[in-house]
Amino acid sequence: MNRPPPAVLQTPGFPHYNLAWSPFHSNRLALASSANYGLVGNGRLHIVSLGPGPGGVPALSIDKFYETQDGLYDVAWSEVHENQLVSASGDGSLKLWDVMINDLPIRSWHEHTREVFSVDWSNIHKDQFISSSWDGTVKLWTPDRPRSITTIQAHPSCVYQALFSPHQPDVIATCSTDGTLKIFDLRAPAYTPSGPTGNNFTAPLTAAALTVPASGTEVLSLDWNKYRPFVLASAGVDKAIKIWDCRMVQLGPEAAQNPAVGGVCESQLLGHELAVRKVQWSPHRADMLASASYDMTCRVWTTTPPPGGKHLMYIHDPHTEFVIGCGWSLYEEGVLASCSWDCRLNVFRV
């Protein structure tokens, strides 16, 4: 099958860290990037639109970009305001931008003490978003308030990603360096009882409704299945993508008193040659997900292969550096965007 080449957008000098499709405009994307691979230097937030190009091939173009003092690691669009989006920055700050306003953010919060690595906007409580940071915390925010609403001491180490459940309000999932995936109920915040060795005073830890020992090494990414509640995908340094059935989780205040540990691994998707950096379920199909990896590929998988068939559906190989982010178009089924340290954003149809 001869596929059309992907639409490509290059941002020289600014390797990408993540992308987000606008929930309001079918052809609009935001792209978070950092100079020097995010090791030192500035960041840049790009607003990109996908339009008809010459010869009917779709083409990408930069509508606007914002300069930041520090590298940007993630970006999320507001679910209430079509022009607003929030970015996660290496200096621990979060910034709210309005694409109608040039140069400066309309709001900025700085509570995290270390790099903010992910940000996610709730699509149930549409006025809330969460951020996760290397300082081990997850913070809940609303654009109107100058301070965070809640802080969750989620993990004893870096929290790579925190995502709202698409089904249940106030339920979030996190993943971390410590190799676990956790599900928290924001309505029942409680601290874990301090064990014989633990110390709740200097190192408090919020009780998770469920802790999934997902991997022996770091878990870099997770995503909620959009159609099957409490089915999650996790991916990380162990190179595998794992699908977890967490329906046994108990929510509510009593659950916080006796935190559960467990999770049923439905299936493992093997194939990436190096650590998997990002995983995302398709918003259109319950059994399809995309992953981006340090092996410089972006892959698409199915969890229900035809008999005798393979899980792996597609390999996107044109990137020449680590592929760091990928995201499904919310409007067009089968359209996937991937971004990479080669400073190229690719949009292609699977």
Partner: protein
Amino acid sequence: MSLPLLVNGAECGPSNPLQGLSKRFDQDRGIQQDQFGAGRAGSSKETFRSQYAPAPGVDQDAARFFSAGPSPAPALSAAPSSFDLSALHRNLPGAQFHSAPPTAAHMQSPMQSPPLQSVGPAAWAADFLQQQPGQQSASHLLAGKGVERQATPLSREHNMSPLTQSAPGAFVPAMTWSPMHNTQFAPMTGVQQQGIPQMQASQIDAAKWDQEFRSQELSLNSAASVPSAPVNAEATETASRARAAHEADELARTAGLLLDTVQGETNPKFKNSAFMGLMRQLRDGELIVEGNDFVERELASGAQTTGDAKGKGRAADAPTMGGGLRMQLPTLQRPVAGPSEADTQHYAESSEDAVKADEDPNDAYFRQENEDYIAMQSAMQDSHQMLASPRWNPQTSEWDNLQDSWDAFEATSTGIRPLTAYQFQSNNPYLHGETSRTRHHAAHGGIPETLYESVLELEAAVQRDPTNVARWYELGVKQQENEREQKAVQALRRALELDPTHLPSWLALAVSHTNEGDRASAYNAIREWVTRNDRYAAAVAQFREAHPEPVNATQGEKLTNLMHCLMSIVRENAGGEIDADIQIALAVLLNTNEEYAKARDCFTTALAVRPDDWLLYNRVGATLANSGRPDEALQYYYTALELNPAYIRARFNLGISCINLRRYDEAAQHILDALVLQDGDSVHDPEANDKRGVTSSALWDSLKTCCLHMQRLDLATLCDRRDLEAFRLNFSMQ
């Protein structure tokens, strides 16, 4: 974001040390190398003291982490090939934090201050002036030599790695030092080597120079009691070079580890990856971080001095730059790799070629200039080595002599006193002669005349009879037992000055040097012992005839040769009576070489002949502990202490083994006992209340570690204050 943190402060490490330690890039080398770095360096250092793994001062959590042993910490079980770049990312800010080597260096030598963090020239001057007095007094406390003291301000400057020098002009102050000495001490060795760069440096920025000169002058005057001793420029240069290179390469090391992890990647994409190229450049030290960006090393240093002339600026940095340049040499001179070469090399080659292929004219220019400079530098050094030969300058050798004799003195506020001589404690109550030995002593001691109980008694005995070799020797051994190595060495040296043929002193001196980690001196002492030993003269001569030592043998070869010599003697005498001394000598050498199992065999053999020698029991114990068997060591320490309950070193060793076995309460008790014994065996000066008895800092440090393990911060604070009385009270109250 993260890297600026590395430049700005020490607090940039991960909030949880575990986190930093469990990074997969470090999992192979990082933990052992970094955290055990100090300990490992100490392995030859404290041979007859056993060591505990976490160096004192290492974070408590880290200590707990190590003591947890091979627990299945998830992060550590990562497959070696798997890696995560975000971990690298975190690793970079963490690098400074969990890189123990710099810390270890600071711990070992209190004279080194932590690298300056804010380095604006003016701020620097202010800092320097403020620190000057404190530093002087600190060096008074140490039995430091004049040279070292003078070297400190210099090394303080060089201490700043290229990474931390974000402000321009950071090197100017450092350079101003040497020209000053240059004018005052023209015929100094080593200055010539720096001469050319310095002259150029002095042209850099007259205003700044002037300002710095004045501040230097001020500080020098404030230290007027210390005649501005000559700077051994050469030594300073090497030291600073090593340090700068080291710190710059924390980042490089991380990059190197990353490259190692993807070494096996066959995907051609990896070879062409710009990111991997960047990592390679970082690893090879071609790039450094400056401010918000990666900068080529040459450009960076050029910018640091001043903008006016790149050539001059770079030359000015020569002493510090040396490390970096030399580091690059292997890459630049590496022969073209054949197809069978290892992957890494191939990568390096290809990247280098790639760099050459698409570098722009500017880069090419700098690279060329850099190579020229390296060539010039090495040529210059060669010529200086030639010049350093005897015909160099009679005046210089005269100066060297002067310098040597100067080194032997310590300048204090009250005057100058010789340094190598043994310092007796003042107000020694035993000094009043035999009359001070009461009937009580005589009646209850029941000890032979020569066996004195305490250091003070021995000191008094020596002072009464200062030419008695045996007394000096006994004093030296007693000081060893009391864990005061420096004093022991001085006493033994004195004994040997009086009588170079006193064999037991040579042997004891070797033990002391081994404890101090001075391999060369230990080797020399044993060699002297062998050479002067009449009993084996024939055998030694025969061996030396059969195995002539090459003239330019390295230290290692000499050591092995001597060991073989001793072994052959032992073997020849196999049938006859066992000589404990030769077994000990051999064991000391084996210990120096870290062959603990063999060393232990030798000691046990010696024990068969001298079953009542507590020193030997302690040595077997320490050897066992050093080879990682603290549990077995315990019984030997116990036996040693049964034989001699006042044996401080054995008690201390016992404490350390207990720490290693995680029996912290017990350990604290033993170390406390050792401290009390040590304290009791010295004179409290009634006139200076703050002057505590002579207790050794090694004991206090270990005690502090122990307290931290016991979660007793209160006690640890008392350790810092060296308050023995308060500690004893608090400890018994727990």
